[in-house]
Symmetry: C2
Subunit: 223 residues, 2 copies
DNA sequence: CTAATATTCCAAAGAATCATAGAACAGGGG
DNA sequence: CCCCTGTTCTATGATTCTTTGGAATATTAG
C-alpha cells in the first residue's frame, strides 16, 4: 500500500483516469456526445448489454461526467457539460499522438482511404461557401434534423444508392457521419467513388466538427 | 466480454486512461514534471518503494508518457514531451472542476489559507515588474538554479527563519514551491505571517506557472 | 576479472474491477 | 389498484492490476 502525504489528492485525481480506463465507458461517452440517450438506446447503439450499460453509467455519473433526468419510465443520460466533450477530444488527440497501436486500430477500422484522404474540419469550415462542394450527411434523418453542418444534405446511407442522381457529378462530395470512429461515411465514400463521384469523408465526423468549433444548423433537411 | 466493432480502438484509448488511473503513477508524473530524475530520486521524492517505482515507470514508458536514458549505472526518466505536461494540467483542472472530493482533499492538504488566498499565475505574471512585490522561491537551492520565476529570490524553507531580515517588511511576499500540491510554500507563508509579513502562496506552484506559459529563468540565484 | 551499485525481470499473493444473473423498485396505463 | 416496462440494486465468479520478494542484468570502480 503506497502511502505518501498527498495520497488522498492523487487518489481523487485517479478517479477520473479510472473512469476513462474502460473501453465500454469511453464508447458510451462517445455516443452520448452525439446527444441525449436513454439507457436502452445507449445499450443498443453502443452494442453493449443492457445490464452492463446501466452499471457503467452509474460510474460515469459518480465521476460527474454524465447527468441523467427521468422522464416517465425512462432515464435520459447526457454529458454533464460542454467541457466533458472537449476533454474527451483532448484525450483522443493525446492518445492518438502517442499510441501507434491506436492509429493502427483506427486506420484498420475505418480503412486507409478514410484516414489518408479525409477532409479536416478546419478545411471544410474554410470551404463552406464553396459552390463546388456538396456536403452529405449520411446519418439517419432524425439525427440530421437534430443538428448538422450548415448546408449539408441529408442522405442516409441506406438511401444513398437510390438517390445518386440527386448529386451533381462534377462537384466534390464530402460525406460525414456521427462519432469520431464512425465507418458509415467511409462506406458512403466508397459507394460514391464506385459510381464515378469525387468523394472524401470528413475526418472525425460531426463530433470533431463540433469540438473544433464548427457551427451547427438544426431543423428540416436542407435541399 | 463486451464486443462492439470499434472495441479495438476504444481498448487502445483506454490504455491512456488506465495509465492515469493510479495515484502512484500520477504522483510520479508530477515529480517528473519538475524535471529529469533517476529511479532512486523519484522513489525518495515521491515516497514510494523503489521496486514499485520501477514497475510503475515501466507502465508509464509503455504508454509513451515518459522516456528514459541511461547514464552509467543510473537511469534517468523524464516526461516524453511538452504535451504530457500540458495534458496533465488539463486533467487536473478537469478533475478539480468536477470532483468536490478532490477540492476538499486539496484544501485539507494545503490548508485553507493556501487555497483561498493564493496568488494565481496570471495575477503574478501581470505584476512581475511591480517593485512592491517580492517573490520567494522556497525550494532547495539546486531546484532554483535549474529554473525559477524571473526575479525570484532563493530562500529554501529550512533557511527562511534565519534570513527573515533579508526581506523588506513593507512588501507583499509571494512564496512558491514545486508541484501543484506542494505544501512547502504554505508553511513558508504561515511562518512569514507569524513574523508580521504580508505573504501569500502561488497557486499551483512552479508547475502551474510553467503550464500557463510563465517564463523561467535559470542560473545563479537572483538578488 | 571481481565486487559493488542501480535497476529491471519474474513470479505470486492480495486488492480492485468487470460482467452478469436475479431481485427489487418506480411510473404509467388499464 | 395492479400489472407492465424500463431501470437500478445486490451478489458473485472471473479477470486484471498492484505490490513486493528474490533472482538477474548491466555498468563502473578497483
Amino acid at each position: 500500500m503506497a502511502e505518501f502525504p498527498e495520497e488522498p489528492i492523487y487518489r481523487q485525481l485517479a478517479r477520473i483516469g479510472r473512469t476513462l480506463a474502460s473501453p465500454v465507458r469511453l464508447r458510451l461517452l462517445d455516443v452520448l456526445d452525439q446527444g441525449e440517450r436513454t439507457v436502452e438506446q445507449l445499450s443498443e447503439e453502443a452494442d453493449i448489454p443492457l445490464k452492463n450499460t446501466s452499471a457503467q453509467l452509474q460510474q460515469l455519473r459518480a465521476a460527474h461526467l454524465v447527468t441523467s433526468r427521468k422522464a416517465g419510465t425512462r432515464v435520459y443520460y447526457r454529458l454533464a457539460d460542454e467541457r466533458v466533450s472537449r476533454f474527451l477530444g483532448e484525450l483522443q488527440d493525446f492518445a492518438a499522438e502517442r499510441l501507434a497501436d491506436l492509429r493502427e486500430a483506427v486506420s484498420e477500422h475505418l480503412g486507409e482511404v478514410a484516414v489518408l484522404e479525409a477532409v479536416t474540419a478546419d478545411e471544410l469550415a474554410a470551404r463552406l461557401d464553396d459552390p463546388g462542394i456538396v456536403i452529405v450527411d449520411v446519418r439517419p434523418a432524425a439525427d440530421h434534423a437534430r443538428g448538422h453542418v450548415p448546408g449539408a444534405v441529408s442522405v442516409p446511407l441506406a438511401e444513398l444508392r437510390d438517390r445518386l442522381d440527386e448529386l451533381p457529378g462534377d462537384a466534390e462530395i464530402v460525406a460525414y457521419c456521427g462519432g469520431p470512429y464512425c465507418v458509415v461515411s467511409s462506406e458512403a465514400v466508397l459507394l460514391l467513388r464506385d459510381h464515378g463521384f469525387r468523394a472524401r469523408p470528413l475526418d472525425g465526423g460531426l463530433t470533431r466538427w463540433r469540438r473544433t468549433g464548427g457551427r451547427l444548423r438544426t431543423g428540416a433537411a436542407a435541399r
